[in-house]
């Protein structure tokens, strides 16, 4: 053996000093990062606590239980009894705005995106003009512009006062349809007491309708004759709905017979066993996760060879499970009782909604209609549960975020369509598909797959942008929160609630978008 070979051999077997050992270095970095993060959090919390104390600012979530003494412009409850309820109204308003906005912006954006690619010169130019106008002006300007436009263009609320009776009227169809600078109002259909019993009958009808549609479809496939499977199913459901309107009280027993016993069962559950059950569940979840993790890294040769990173994750899962157990058993026993109470309340509500005592058809129909009601002059008449209102604030924010986001979605859709290879169009043309069929069955499905991730971003943007509602006084969660912390001084707490709420919204959207992203992935080998 030559000298070179021996020295090479020695270099290979020699253990490096610890600061060059890849394993040690990796662990050191992990632990240091964890320590620095924890330290930073502890530091910030302490500093915040100290300075709040120094300025004698009080903290605490007590305001959620206290009457905020405010009334809200619109929402499920315009006169909330507690601060928590007020914030909840704001959250519902935000979700309402975001959900309706995402729906409309997607449709509008897709149409405009297709329009911009149209071979029709006018359509293409109109689409690109719209896009350039919307996306080059800040959203806040759009919202305020809509707000002001509604105020200027539509007649003053309460303009027409009957000189004799003093009654306020607002056209064009008094008592039914109102238009004013405070917004629009039409009659609203809403759920009444008999709804849930009626729903049971409709559900039975749906199951039957599905069965009928399957049979009709099978018949159509066999004979080639048009049998209208979807129409027949809808017909069956309609018949059930119509008959159910008159006979729904017969299902009044469901609440007492099914949901009430469940409620009582939960009510009788002691807290201790639930705590133990929850901590065991935490342990089981961690164990299952670790098992799956190891299984995924198992090689055909046998047991997995774990990297340091893998070990870190496995240990972290164990620690997380332990912490969860400690929290459930020792630190926060209230969690278990809260779970028991809230699920009891849930079934209590069900028992109530499905319960009898809502017997008569005439008194408790499934739906009823409430008319726009103009009472107070100088105030938007349709506050609270009366007509279906499109208020000035809602309309301004809604059209603002929808049109603004639609412009961006249109560009995403256009990009998605252009990303579909030209050969796809040619193949679709060559087999004789019409343009609309080609678009629906070949181009858009592929364009949609490309567009989905950036589309998800736009949905997040839209949801977050609804917070600009504060500029026009629409009672979204930010507007309500700001009113509350102005009154109570609990700004930090309101900020935490805002952040958690928007985080929850964003995560929900991400989960939904990712679900479709994975499901629609084009299958490759």
């Amino acid at each position: 053996m030559t000298d070179t070979q021996t020295s090479l051999h020695r270099a290979a077997t020699e253990k490096p000093p610890f600061y060059r050992d890849a394993t040690v270095v990796k662990w050191l970095v992990q632990i240091t990062t964890l320590a620095v993060t924890l330290f930073a959090i502890a530091f910030l919390v302490r500093e915040a606590g100290d300075s709040l104390q120094a300025k004698s600012i009080q903290t605490g979530f007590g305001f959620l239980e206290v009457d905020p003494a405010i009334s809200l412009g619109e929402g499920i409850d315009t006169d909330p009894a507690t601060g928590g309820r007020a914030l909840w109204v704001g959250m519902v308003n935000t979700i309402r705005m975001a959900a309706a906005g995402i729906f409309l912006a997607t449709i509008l954006g897709t149409l405009i995106g297709i329009g911009r690619l149209s071979s029709n010169w006018l359509v293409a130019k109109l689409a690109s003009g719209f896009i350039e106008y919307m996306r080059n002006i800040p959203l806040l300007v759009h919202i305020i512009l809509f707000f002001v436009t509604i105020a200027v263009v539509f007649p003053d609320f309460g303009e027409n006062v009957d000189p004799i009776t003093g009654e306020v009227s607002q056209g064009p169809w008094n008592g039914v349809f109102h238009v004013s600078n405070k917004g629009f109002s039409v009659p609203r259909v809403h759920i009444d007491n008999g709804f849930y019993q009626w729903l049971i009958i409709v559900a039975i009808g749906s199951v039957l309708g599905r069965w009928v549609s399957k049979r009709r479809q099978a018949l159509q496939d066999r004979t080639g004759q048009e049998t209208y499977p979807v129409l027949s199913a809808l017909g069956v459901i309609a018949v059930f709905a119509a008959v159910g309107w008159f006979i729904h009280p017969i299902f009044g027993f469901v609440g007492d017979a099914i949901f009430a016993p469940i409620r009582d069962l939960i009510d009788g559950t002691p807290q201790g066993p639930v705590q133990i059950l929850l901590s065991v569940a935490a342990g089981v979840v961690a164990a299952l996760w670790i098992r799956r993790f190891l299984a995924a890294r198992r090689t055909p040769g046998g047991a997995a060879k774990l990297t340091d990173d893998d070990w870190f994750r496995v240990i972290f899962a164990g620690i997380a499970a332990t912490i969860a157990c400690v929290v459930i058993l020792v630190l926060w026993p209230g969690l278990s009782s809260w779970l028991i109470n809230s699920s009891r309340d849930f079934f209590d509500v069900l028992a109530n909604k499905f319960g009898d005592g809502r017997g008569s058809v005439g008194d408790d129909p499934p739906f009823s209609v409430s008319m726009p009601d103009i009472e107070k002059r100088g105030n938007f008449a349709n506050m609270g549960p009366s007509g279906l209102n499109l208020t000035q604030g809602f309309a301004a924010v809604f059209f603002g975020v929808v049109l603004y986001t639609a412009a961006f979605i249109a560009e995403i859709v256009r990009g998605g369509i252009l990303a579909v290879p030209k050969g796809q169009t040619e193949a679709a043309e060559a087999i004789g598909l019409r343009r609309s069929t080609m678009l629906r069955r070949v181009i858009l499905p592929q364009a949609f797959r490309v567009s989905l991730p950036p589309l998800g971003n736009q949905y997040l943007n839209l949801t977050k942008n609804t917070s600009l509602a504060i500029a026009v006084g629409y009672t979204d969660v930010v507007q309500v929160g700001q009113t509350i912390f102005n009154q109570t001084g609990r700004s930090l707490e309101v900020f935490i609630i805002w952040m958690l709420f928007y985080l929850a919204c964003s995560l929900t959207i991400s989960v939904v978008v990712n679900f479709f992203n994975v499901r629609l992935k084009i299958v490759e080998r």
Partner: protein, 259 residues
């Protein structure tokens, strides 16, 4: 018999049949560049025509004009008695009579093999789904890959994808099939499986126009070979004539380079 007259260069037996495609002096420009210069040729029913030529000679452009993937600017194209004009009804009618197979397969990647094949019968011919799927499976049987029915195009080999593409074109029950270099994107060992399917089709009496570089296929299957260069038909004739006794210098040069 003049060999530069593409229409006349057919055997007597073929000449007795009806024309199914009539091309009369087609011109096609891309901007200043003239891709087709007065191309005239009539294709007979159940005839197999192979179009040869160096790349850029306009052979693909020509057959793409026949189902309006490219628009010719002057001259007439009549397919099965229907003239190709701006009338969308005529275009639709011709496209449903003419199947086309592309070099790059152009299968729809988001649809399964069966859905790829049954798409047009369901949406254009308005067939019931079950019937269209049954027909799709029969066609897969015919091209020799019934076991791939539920897979997606991305999971198939190139040769299998091209056979699915042929089945997709056949699903519309066309009277004419156009092949635009169907084997050029394939690995050598997969070329044969596609050519076999095409031979099968030719034997079954399908009218076919094939742009290809497969000389073996041309010699064996073609009724007529048309040689193009710079957007013009240079020479046409039966395979025998074309390969053994070419008349034009440009044809001889081409053959010497590839054979």
């Amino acid at each position: 018999m003049s060999f530069s007259d593409a229409t006349a260069a057919v055997s007597d037996e073929l000449a007795a049949r009806d024309d199914i495609i009539v091309c009369d002096g087609i011109d096609k420009w891309y901007g200043d560049f003239q891709a087709l210069k007065g191309v005239s040729a009539n294709i007979k029913e159940q005839e197999v025509v192979v179009v040869l030529g160096p790349s850029g000679s306009g052979k693909s452009t020509w057959i793409r004009c026949i189902n309006r993937l490219e628009q010719h600017q002057s001259g007439r194209i009549i397919v099965d008695g229907v003239e190709l004009t701006n009338d969308t009804r005529n275009i639709e009618k011709i496209r449903s009579e003419v199947g086309m197979v592309f070099q790059q397969f152009n299968l729809f990647p988001h649809l399964s093999v069966v859905d790829n094949i049954s798409l047009a019968p369901i949406w254009v011919r308005k067939r019931p789904r079950a019937e269209a799927e049954r027909q799709a499976r029969e066609l897969l049987e015919r091209v020799g890959i019934p076991e791939q029915a539920e897979k997606f195009p991305g999971q198939l080999s190139g040769g299998q994808q091209q056979r699915v593409a042929i089945a997709r074109a056949l699903a519309m029950e066309p009277r004419i099939m156009l092949f635009d270099e169907p084997t050029s994107a394939l690995d050598p060992e997969m070329i044969k499986e596609v050519l076999d399917v095409m031979k099968e089709l030719a034997l079954g009496g399908m009218t076919m126009m094939v742009v290809t570089h497969e000389m073996g296929f041309a010699r064996e299957v073609a009724d007529r070979i048309i040689f193009m260069e710079s957007g013009e038909i240079v020479e046409a004739g039966t395979p025998e004539h074309f390969f053994t006794n070419p008349q034009e210098d440009r044809t001889k040069l081409f053959l010497s380079q590839i054979l």
